[in-house]
Structures are given as C-alpha cells and as structure tokens.
C-alpha cells in the first residue's frame, strides 16, 4: 500500500489534517484505531472551539481579540506558554468557523446553555460526534481513504525521514509507504498500565472520561524513535465525576455539580479541601487531582434535603438516609468519623444569606480546611451523598513541534516529513491548566497547517 500522506488517528486534528492535505492535492489515508462507531477519539465528546473573533459571525456574540485570547491562555497556564506558537494558533483560529463550515461542520446559534461562552467559543450543532460525522462524510466525498480498527504498530524511519508504517488492520498486517506522516492520535490517558508507572495501584481507580482507544502507543513509538518530548510525563487533566461512571467513555454526563452545596469527605470520613472556594465551573478541574490523592481515590459529596433542586442532579440517584450515621453506613464509611465531621462543620458555619448565584457570605470559622462560601448547616433529613472519583480527560505528555507542525527531534533537528497535531502536541502550548474549547482549536489549526505543509512538501520534493 502506498499513499502520499498517512494520517494516524481519527479525531478532529486528524481529519482537519487529512482534509487540508487532500485540499492541497495529496492522496490521503487515515488510519483510525477505533471501530467506526467509536471513531473520532475524544473529539466525539467535545462541544466547542475557542476562536478569536473580530469581525463577528452569526453564532457568536461580541468580540474576542488576539491579545485577550493569548492572555487567557497565559492565565490558565500560570504564565508558562510558548507564546509564538500560541499566537499563531490564536490568529489561525479566526478563520476556523468558515473553514470548518466548508468542511461540513454546522454551528449552533448561542442558546441559553451556551450563552456564557458565546463571546469566545463557537459550538458545533449537535456536538462532537455530529462534527466527526460531518468530517468523515466530507472526507469520503473528497476521496480520502479511511481504515477503521487499524493501528500503527511500528514505523520505518531513516535519519529524520519517515519511510513506511506497519499497520495492523483488523487481523492482517499491512505495510503502508507514505511520503509524509501526520500523527494526531491523542495522548495516553486510557492506558492504565502507563498511569501505574507514576501512580501505582491508584491508577486502577481512575475513571477515563473519554475514548478507551487513546492508549499512547504512537506517542511511545515516536519518543522511542528520538522525537523530542514536551510536557510532564505524569501530568493529566482530571475532574471530579460521579463514582458510578463507567470506566471509560462516560463523557460529559458523568459530571457532578453537588460539591459546593455540601461537604466532601474522603474514605476516612475527613474533609480535605474547601468546597466553597469558588464557583464550581472554576473549580471542578482541580477536584480530579484532589481526589486522585485521597486514599483509594474516592470521596463523597454529602448534602441535605435543603439543597435538593438547587443543582442538576447526577444521572445516578444519590444514596440517601434519614440520619448521617445511616448515610455513612450505606457508603461503607466509619459512621462516627462522618458524624463528627458533619458536627464540626455545622458548628463552624456562620450565619449568612445563602445564594448560589454569587460568592455569598455563608462561610465557616475556625474550621480546617474552611468552606469559604455556601457553608450551610447539614441538618435537614433525609441526607444525601454522591460518590466521587477522579475522571481523567487528557494527558500533557507529547511530541515537540514547530510552527509548521513539523516534529522536532531530540537533537534539535527538524523531522523531514513527520508532522503532528492535536492532543499529542498540546504540551507545546500549555504545560498545565486548560482553557475551554482550546483543545479543538489547537487540533484544527495545527492539523490544517500540518496537512498543508505535508502536501506542499511532497509537491516540492516531486518538482525537485
């Protein structure tokens, strides 16, 4: 099998790269490890792109400038970003809505559920899977070949030049010769074995929020072949999810919003962090890491019947009991410890006006850790609890690329015909933190660049 551009991966970044390479005249083969139903990696679970928006469009409200976008990136990453690459992506993002529209993606007008991000983010109509369906339809129309259930097993690399790939396609092994390779196969977040290297047996208790197919096999190959590394090896982005979530692929629906409305205890019945530090959307991402560091990587959000109806309930029913003791027993916790924690919390609450819409004045005094807002006595039965676990979204470890999405080798030299985009390159811009909608934006912009550069490189080569 021979092609011009081999794209490894099947999500947003991969398909943008494939479509861009095809639009620039290359023959393209996409190999996607997942079966057709699960195609698209974590892009299946996505919702929106963050884009610079000066001219305005039908789907966004207001303006979002380059500097503001870059500042937002700096803020979430604690100042530590690759500003040149960040600026490039931000500038490129401005034309994304139109370009992606041409690739078949439909947008959703700002509705009530998306209004608070309508200035900075553009939402796909129907979300990530609808977007992936559109990409694949367009790819088919444009003559891009797609192999499902096909994974990259090994590569033939001479110096800095990719020559061929060994691809396991269902039950057979095929050698694919290509003039360029674009890797957009994600991180290793679904690989428990890999997490175990850093986390030990704790890794067994993590929930993988997205695709089970992001095993990091291609990432490992590239690093083994001497491509330069970016990002902390053990770093991941994790949020608090309902403990009953499936091991993999639970996506957005495993989210839990109850934390600020009560207290959170660990397996020993002890509180361990300020549940009311800030609004939940600003804090849910740190709770994944907090829970990952608790015994058995589990925690319990406890609240009373006053709070029912104040937040969206979980998809799974809460555990409930008429007494705190009964609740603790049902949760398998030491009931004395939980009763003591609740009692101490109740005694520490100060009178105030409870208001979930603002950082209110209901707080604890003399309690460690404190609860800074929305601290209201837990005293009205029945009592409720949700188990919480750490849900991993993505990993930061990746391969180094330049502004042409070209891979950089460990010795600092440029790879000749090897490009990357998407999550596997995220560490080039953000080493920590996350900005809503930036993952897709990075994948689409770098993917578009990678496809163009790969195709143009091949053309120049053949002219020569």
């Amino acid at each position: 099998m021979e092609t011009d551009v081999l794209v490894v991966g099947g999500g947003n970044a991969a398909l943008c790269a494939a479509l861009s390479a095809r639009d620039h005249g290359a023959r393209v083969l996409v190999i996607e490890r997942a079966p057709k139903f699960y195609r698209g990696g974590n892009s299946r679970h996505t919702r929106d792109f963050r884009v610079m928006n000066i001219k305005g469009n039908d789907f966004m409200i207001g303006r979002y400038t380059e500097d503001e976008f870059v500042d937002d990136l700096k803020r979430v990453a604690g100042g530590e970003i690759n500003e040149d690459l960040a600026r490039l992506i931000v500038r490129e993002s401005e034309t994304l809505p139109e370009w992606l529209g041409k690739q078949g993606v439909s947008w959703q007008p700002a509705l009530s559920g998306t209004l608070h991000l309508a200035r900075t983010n553009i939402f796909q109509l129907g979300g990530g899977k609808a977007m992936m369906n559109a990409y694949y339809r367009t790819a088919q129309k444009k003559g891009i070949e797609v192999w499902y259930e096909s994974m990259l097993e090994d590569m033939e690399i001479e110096g800095n030049e990719f020559k061929a790939a060994r691809v396991r396609k269902k039950d057979s092994v095929v050698t694919v010769k290509a003039k360029a390779i674009i890797v957009a196969s994600g991180g290793f977040e679904a690989n428990r074995e890999w997490h175990r290297k850093y986390w030990g047996s704790a890794a067994d208790n993590f929930i993988i929020r997205g695709t089970p197919y992001n095993q990091g096999n291609v990432l490992k190959l590239l690093l083994d072949y001497g491509v330069a590394r970016v990002g902390e090896p053990d770093a991941f982005h994790a949020v608090a999810v309902d403990g009953r979530a499936p091991e993999n692929d639970g996506g957005i629906v495993t989210r839990l919003d109850s934390v600020p409305f009560g207290i959170v205890v660990n397996k020993d019945g002890q509180r361990f962090y300020d549940e009311g530090e800030d609004f939940w959307p600003k804090r849910y991402a740190i709770w994944g890491g907090l829970i990952a560091r608790q015994p058995d990587q589990i925690a319990f959000s406890i609240f009373d019947s006053k709070m029912i109806g104040k937040f969206m309930p979980s998809v799974w029913d809460p555990v409930s009991a008429d007494t705190i003791k009964g609740l603790a027993e049902q949760l398998g916790l030491d009931s004395d410890a939980v009763e003591k924690t609740v009692k101490e919390f109740n005694e520490a609450t100060r009178p105030g006006t409870f208001n979930p819409a603002e950082l209110d004045d209901c707080r604890t005094e003399g309690l460690k850790p404190p609860k800074s807002h929305w601290a209201v006595k837990i005293d009205q039965p029945p009592y409720y609890a949700y188990p919480l676990k750490a849900g991993i979204t993505f990993t930061y470890l990746g391969v180094k690329v330049n502004e042409h999405a070209r891979m950089i080798m460990e010795d600092g030299s440029l790879a000749k015909n090897m490009f990357a985009s998407g999550e596997i390159t995220a560490g080039n811009v953000l080493k920590r933190g996350y900005l809503a909608g930036f993952g897709l934006t990075l994948g689409a912009t770098l993917g578009r660049i990678a496809g163009r550069e790969a195709a143009n490189g091949i053309r120049q080569e053949s002219v020569r």
């Binding site: 679970h45 919702r47 979300g127 996506g251 957005i252 629906v253």
Partner: protein, 388 residues
C-alpha cells in the same frame, strides 16, 4: 402494564442522561423542553414523545447510542411512546389496537364499506344498472342518492372529529397536569407556524437524517406534499359543497373547474408524498425505528395512498362504464379512512400540534423569565455543558 412501566422508566433514565449532556439543544424543541425540566414524569414523557418529529438528527449526534452501555436512542424511544399515546388516548381504547396497529384494520374496513355500498346499489337499483355508463350532471348520484352520501360521510366525519377531540382533551389534560400558566393566543399562533412549516422535521434547517446520518430535507418536503395535498382536497370538497348546495350546480365538474383542479393537485401531491415517504421508510436505518410504530405509520400512509389512487382513477375513468364501480371503491376507501382515522397514525397531527402549543407556551414563558428583571427561583439551572 409492566412493559409500559419499563418503557416509561427507561425513557426517564434516558432524558436524565440527555439533560446532563444537552449537546443536542440546537436540534429541536424536545431538547429545549428538557432543559426546562429537572425531573420527568409519565406525562412529560408523553409530551416529549409527541413533540419529537422523528427526524433522527439526535441519534446520529449521540455518542451514547448502543453499543455504548448507556444505550440512548431518543427516536426509537419516542416512536414507542407515541404508539402508546395513540392507543391510550383514543376512544374506545380497545379499538385502537384492532384498527390502528396494522394495515389489515384499514383493508377490512375498506372491504366492508365497499361491499356495503355495492349492497346498497344492488338493493336500490336494477343490478344491470351498475354496469351502465352515466355521464354529465348528477351522474355520481345516479345510483347512490346525494342525500345518502352526505348522510354517510357527515356521520363518519363527525365520528372522526369527535373521537379526535376526545383524545385531544385527555391528552391535553395530561400534558398540562402540572401547569398553571394560561395558554395565550400568541402561543397558538406560534405553534401553528411551527406545525405548518414542519420546523422540527429537519434539525433547524440542517435537514433530517432521512435514511442515514446525512442531513437531507426529503422527508420534510414529502410531508408537505401530503399535508398540503390533504388541505387542497379538503378545500376542493368544501368548494364542491358550496357549488352543489349554494349555487346548486351538482357534481361532477369539468376538468378545469376549481373543484377538480384543487382536488387533482391535492390528490397528485398526496400520491407523490405518500409514495416517497413509504420509500424513505423502507430505506430508514432500522436502529432508530420501532418496528410496531414503523408498521402503523406505514399502514396509515398506505391507506392515504389508496384513497388518493382510487380518487384519481375515478377522475380518469369517470366518463366510462367503470365509473360506478370506481366510485363505490373510492367511497369505500374514504369511508374506511374516516372510520379508522381516530386509531391510525393520522392522529399524530392532533397530539403533535397540542404538544407544539404546550411547547410554544413553555418557550414564551421561558423567554419572559430570561428577560424579566427579577430573578425568580427558576427550575433551569445555569449552563451545564462542559467546554472541551
């Protein structure tokens, strides 16, 4: 029934899951309506099921359909629930199953009605007269007197509308059971606009997933052919009544008469529409359809097709000796159609329209609340989507 309870319970499970996701909110009214709710009862499920126009967009957009363990499938769920609606709210309930579920209900009614009309002719005329050729003014009434036809079809029409109204009343009471707000005239105007344009049969301008995930608009325009075709034939019939009883010009009317033109346009439109819809039904992805619902839907379309084809045949051959037989067959089909109408898929427009009125009402109230200066204790919680 146990199976009904399971269906409703699974529906509530699915809607809770959908409400935690909300990625489909741009598609149609259903996904807006769930955002105004936190919990779902049986009446909510009935309402949502009838609000759904079965376009299928949400199914293809959903990452949680089977084989995913969540097993989300709103189009199939709603199709099953609509079947329950059509049976539960009709009257008498037992007839719903017998006459609405399968095409055989219509065929039997058709056969019996045709035989009765033939019987009437043979009883009141010389048998040989059936095969005679009648043309010109009043020829339709040569063997079956006009008063008899008017009597039979008025009774059937009243029957059809009467049973629809009984169902509508029961349905409306249920879906409004937890509401205190008044429905205003503007809600009815809004709902009528939604209904007449089939706004929600086609994912907000994107089109339906007619046969597979590719958005298309075929079902919408085919449905327009059927819906507006029906209205044209209705207009034709009303106009004919005006000519006959006010102007005293009896049928049949010449080919270029407004009555015939309206009827022909409507009939041809319905034949095109029903044929196309049947074809799309055959090609539809079986994953998102319910077999029972699909069958009862198809039998309604077949019945409508039969009425129109016999009508067009009558028009074409009305100058020949076959006219009487064709007239009897056509009348038989219309009678059977009217008689079974309260039990077939035909009722979908009653419940869907009422669901749209309820939706328009909810939508207006939600908008008023959003723009209201005072913050009320509203059920809708703040934005809940994850932004990846």
């Amino acid at each position: 029934m146990e199976s009904d309870k399971n269906l409703f319970d699974d529906g509530k499970r699915q809607m809770r899951l959908c409400n935690a996701c909300r990625y489909c909110e741009g598609y149609c009214a259903v996904w807006q309506a769930i955002e105004w709710r936190r919990d779902f009862d049986d009446h909510d499920m009935t309402y949502l099921a009838n609000l759904c126009h079965d376009c299928g967009d949400c199914y293809y957009a959903c990452p949680f359909t089977t084989p995913h363990q969540f097993g989300i499938n709103p189009p199939k769920l709603f199709a099953q629930l609509r079947e329950k609606t059509y049976q539960k709210y009709t009257w008498p309930v037992a007839w719903g199953k017998a006459l609405g579920e399968k095409i055989s209900g219509f065929w039997i009614a058709f056969l019996l009605a045709t035989l009765l009309f033939f019987g009437f002719i043979f009883a009141t005329n010389d048998p040989a007269s059936v095969w005679q050729k009648y043309t010109g003014e009043g020829s339709f009434y040569a063997l079956i007197p006009e008063y008899f036809m008017i009597g039979v079809f008025s009774a059937l029409g009243l029957w059809m509308i009467g049973v629809w109204l009984i169902g509508a009343r029961k349905f409306w009471r249920d879906i409004r059971s937890s509401k205190n707000e008044k429905v205003m005239f503007q809600d009815i105007v809004t709902a009528t606009k939604y209904a007449m344009s089939l706004r929600y049969l086609g994912g907000e301008g994107e089109g339906c997933a007619d046969t597979d995930e590719e958005p298309a608009t075929n079902r919408r325009w085919l449905h327009h052919f059927v819906g507006y075709g029906f209205l044209l034939t209705f207009a034709s019939t009303s106009l004919a009544a005006f000519y006959a009883h006010i102007l005293h010009i009896p049928a049949p009317y010449p080919v270029f008469h407004p009555v015939v033109i309206l009827g022909t346009l409507g009939g041809v439109g319905m034949i095109i529409g029903t044929t196309g819809l049947l074809y799309l039904k055959l090609k539809r992805d079986p994953d998102l359809t319910d077999e029972k619902a699909s069958k009862s839907g198809a039998s309604f379309i077949m019945a409508l097709w039969t009425v129109n084809v016999t009508g067009m045949l009558l028009l074409i051959f009305r100058e020949t000796a076959a006219m009487n037989s064709l007239l009897v067959i056509h009348l038989g089909s219309v009678a059977a159609f009217f008689f079974t109408a309260p039990y077939t898929k035909f009722v979908h427009f009653v419940y869907r329209y009422l669901a749209l009125v309820n939706y328009a009402n909810e939508e207006r109230l939600a908008k008023e609340e959003e723009t209201a200066p005072t913050v009320k204790n509203k059920p809708k919680t703040a934005a809940h989507h994850k932004a990846n």
